[in-house]
């Protein structure tokens, strides 16, 4: 089985990730997921690709910490976080987060908390590639 926290160039399968999550326990009453995708526009410009730079060792360590914190804080049964690096095309998947708990509320709350915290704490930088040039993305709320 693939690790619950990963950085990878290749695309991920939501079905495979959820299957892995479901295999971890039969006590779950709810699974929440978030998939971040590459928009084909930004600030009135078309975007053809997004390139990621990452401080790999720290990013993976921070993602693992986030997963552990989320499990403790929201009493999750399990959680998975996958973030792509390298170059992705417009419309492609970027990040996957799944959380499961005995009840839906903590699963949903933890999923939102994880993506919000990931954006604040994990050293990954996104560059938009447009027909007119490239530019690093300023963090959005």
């Amino acid at each position: 089985m693939k690790d619950a926290v990963r950085l990878q160039q290749e695309d991920f399968s939501q079905d495979e990730e959820i299957s892995a999550l479901r295999a971890s326990s039969k006590r779950m009453g709810g699974i929440a997921t978030f998939i971040g995708c590459a928009r084909d526009f930004s600030e009135n410009r078309s975007v053809s690709k997004i390139s990621f730079d990452v401080y790999g060792s720290m990013a993976l360590a921070e993602m693992s910490k986030l997963r552990s914190e989320a499990i403790d804080r929201f009493v999750l049964l399990d959680a998975r976080i996958v973030h792509r690096v390298g170059v992705v095309g417009a419309g492609d998947q970027i990040v996957f987060i799944a959380t499961c708990a005995e009840h839906r509320a903590p699963a949903l709350q933890a999923c939102q908390w994880l993506i919000d915290e990931l954006k604040q704490r994990v050293p990954i930088w996104k560059k938009e590639i447009t027909p007119h040039g490239e530019s690093w993305v300023t963090a959005h709320p």
């Binding site: 730079d53 990452v54 401080y55 954006k119 050293p123 996104k126 963090a139």
Partner: protein
């Protein structure tokens, strides 16, 4: 030596991904930052976070050690 890494927009402004700085006894994080800031002023305009040996470092008086790794980073934009 201290290995200094730059990523993303900071690396672009610095024109490099890595720098080696000679370690001096008693060197602290703010000493290293001052030294590098004078070499890469444009890059340091957008530096918001620092990591020492893979951990967020909030205390600028943190003592450094020979062979350590320090990263000066701009705001993250993953996800």
């Amino acid at each position: 030596m201290i290995k200094v890494l730059f990523f993303g927009p900071v690396a672009e402004r610095a024109g490099t991904n890595e720098a080696q700085v000679v370690f001096k006894d008693g060197m602290r994080l703010h000493d290293l930052r001052e030294q590098l800031q004078s070499m890469y002023p444009d890059a340091f305009e957008i530096v918001c976070f620092t990591a020492v040996n893979g951990e967020h470092a909030l205390d600028t008086s943190l003592p450094l050690r020979d062979g350590g790794e320090v990263v000066f980073m701009s705001k993250f934009s993953g996800g």
